[in-house]
Amino acid sequence: MTETLLIEGLTRRFGGHAALDGLDLRVDAGEVFVLLGGSGSGKTTLLRCIGGFETPDAGRIALEGVDITALPPHKRAVNTMFQSYALFPHMSVAENVGFGLRHAGVGKAEAARRVAALLKLVRLEEFGARRPAQLSGGQKQRVALARALARRPSLLLLDEPFSALDRNLREDTRVEFLRIQRALCIASILVTHDQEEALAMADRIGVMQAGQLAQVGTPEDVYERPASRFVAEFMGMANFLPAVVRERGRGTTLLRLADGNLPVRSTCAATLGSQVTLALRPERLALGGAGENRLEGIVDGVSYRGATLDVFVRFGTTALVVRHPLGNGAGVPGAGAAVTVSFAADAAIVLPD
């Protein structure tokens, strides 16, 4: 699989602060790559550098093998879908979608054909003559997408495309987008701060932190095997317990929790004798159960979540959150009850300190 985008050592400074700090990135042909990060992580700056709206202070950007670092936006085979949609208010939907074709050497008849086809693709065939002011948020978003696809770019950039939509619409729109993306097989970079969205949409995720990529991998990689506490926390709720690595065996590591010196077995490799942080995802913990790791504790309280129940268990000075599935007639433990929390060895994620 050839790479569509290759970035090396990208740096961008604002004043004394480095928004991008020697970043390397590779995006493969046809894949959906999600840049996930909080505000200030540099994800938007990175997107703008790729689009050509920011000039990096150092580094190289290559699109399909060609160095585009110095090219202005209108000469790059990259198209952007803006967070605010940026639809031209004084042009109709059809004129918006066809705008890019005027400068692509496409004849009028061909352009009209393509516009019609694109509008059909985003299910807005009847809307060609309307103005952006007459569209709903979801419709504007689809026009913005159609417009960005018109020139058949090698790379599509999407800046928080779903954040302005309400919850219900978001799910449907995501599915729609993936359908179109798979059909056209365009490499896409999607920027978001919503880890749920990233997990649902990405072929690969790049978690950004302070201008660098903290981890790049498939959604499972990043969720189940986070490289650091930052990534683990960003990807979802987790319990963090300090521990020390006591023994190393084949495929298994024995740790001792700092609190109470309790033993925990993990499938993660770790350096003998090192201080580490043990991350446990609440949904991998069970009350009772057959996991090889067991911890005894007292229930502090519960929080009803509809499909699940968050159970707060305390042992020693440590508090754990266990996500207990409901709906199978399983018993609900009350506050003060003594419980055993069990989990498998591969649920014990070891993170370096």
Partner: protein, 269 residues
């Protein structure tokens, strides 16, 4: 806020603003020269106004100066506003913005004096301008007004943000096309209101024109001013009513045009 309280706060202010105007309109139709007694409806003052040669001449001169200087001011102001909004941190930007604000804060007497001295120096050193009058007043008015236009344009561009221009560039439009097809149409409302503002400022100006003008170039405000010192006759009120009518008509026209455009857009559905 209750309707009563609202009107209570606004009515006195509007009364203050409009009572004099209302009185002017009413008494412009007064047959008597005395502004205190009503002696019948008459349009004699409008006829007198029309027949007032010097006043009509001055009006025509002022209109020409206003139109020309407004156009110059709009071109200059658009460039300046654009430079400030989209030019990034160019060298000397601070000084540029500071000098641009001079016409906005400097009292007219100083502005007029300064420009007159410029023209005098010009005449002495390079023989230009040949004489003071139409040209010098127009140049002065353009300089005065373009700062206002720049403020309007810059505000409008800052408001609109760079998104749309970036989107156009992203879609392959080179900078000149971006400017022509995106920036300019978006700035259009600011350009129109800027031109109108510059036009009004020029038409209304007395002090700067007095300083920078010369014999043979008497503008409408200059005529009005010297006449007002002698005594105010209902001819003034007639003129004021005419101006008010033109402005009101223009506003009504603009409002109607807006309504038509909005109606047309929703009819597309």
């Amino acid at each position: 806020m209750s309707r009563r309280a609202l009107l209570g706060l606004l009515l006195p202010g509007y009364a203050f603003l409009y009572l004099p105007i209302a009185l002017m309109v009413v008494f412009s139709f007064n047959d008597s020269k005395l502004v205190t007694a009503w002696s019948g409806f008459s349009v004699r003052w409008y006829i007198a106004l029309w027949n007032n040669g010097p006043l009509m001449e001055a009006t025509w001169l002022s209109l020409r100066i206003a139109a020309l200087s407004a156009t110059m001011a709009t071109v200059l102001g658009t460039a300046a506003g654009f430079a400030l909004a989209h030019g990034g941190p160019f060298r000397g930007r601070g000084a540029f913005a500071a000098v641009l604000s001079i016409p906005l804060v400097v009292p007219e007497v100083i502005f007029g004096l300064a420009l007159l001295l410029l023209f005098v120096a010009g005449q002495a050193l390079i023989g230009l301008p040949i004489e003071r009058g139409f040209t010098t007043i127009t140049l002065a008015h353009a300089t005065f007004a373009f700062a206002y236009v720049a403020v309007l344009v810059q505000a409008r561009l800052a408001d609109a943000g760079t998104d749309l221009e970036e989107a156009a560039a992203d879609l392959g439009a080179p900078p000149s096309v971006v400017f022509a097809r995106i920036t300019l149409p978006l700035m259009a409302p600011a350009l129109v209101s800027g031109w109108l503002l510059a036009f009004t400022l020029s038409l209304d100006d007395l002090v700067v024109a007095s300083f920078t003008g010369g014999p043979g170039a008497t503008t409408l405000p200059m005529r009005l001013f010297s006449a007002a010192r002698l005594g105010v006759t209902p001819e003034f009120y007639a003129l004021a009513t005419v101006v008010l009518a033109i402005v009101a008509l223009a506003l009504a026209g603009a409002w109607l045009a807006r309504r038509v455009a909005v109606a047309r857009e929703s009819a597309v559905e």
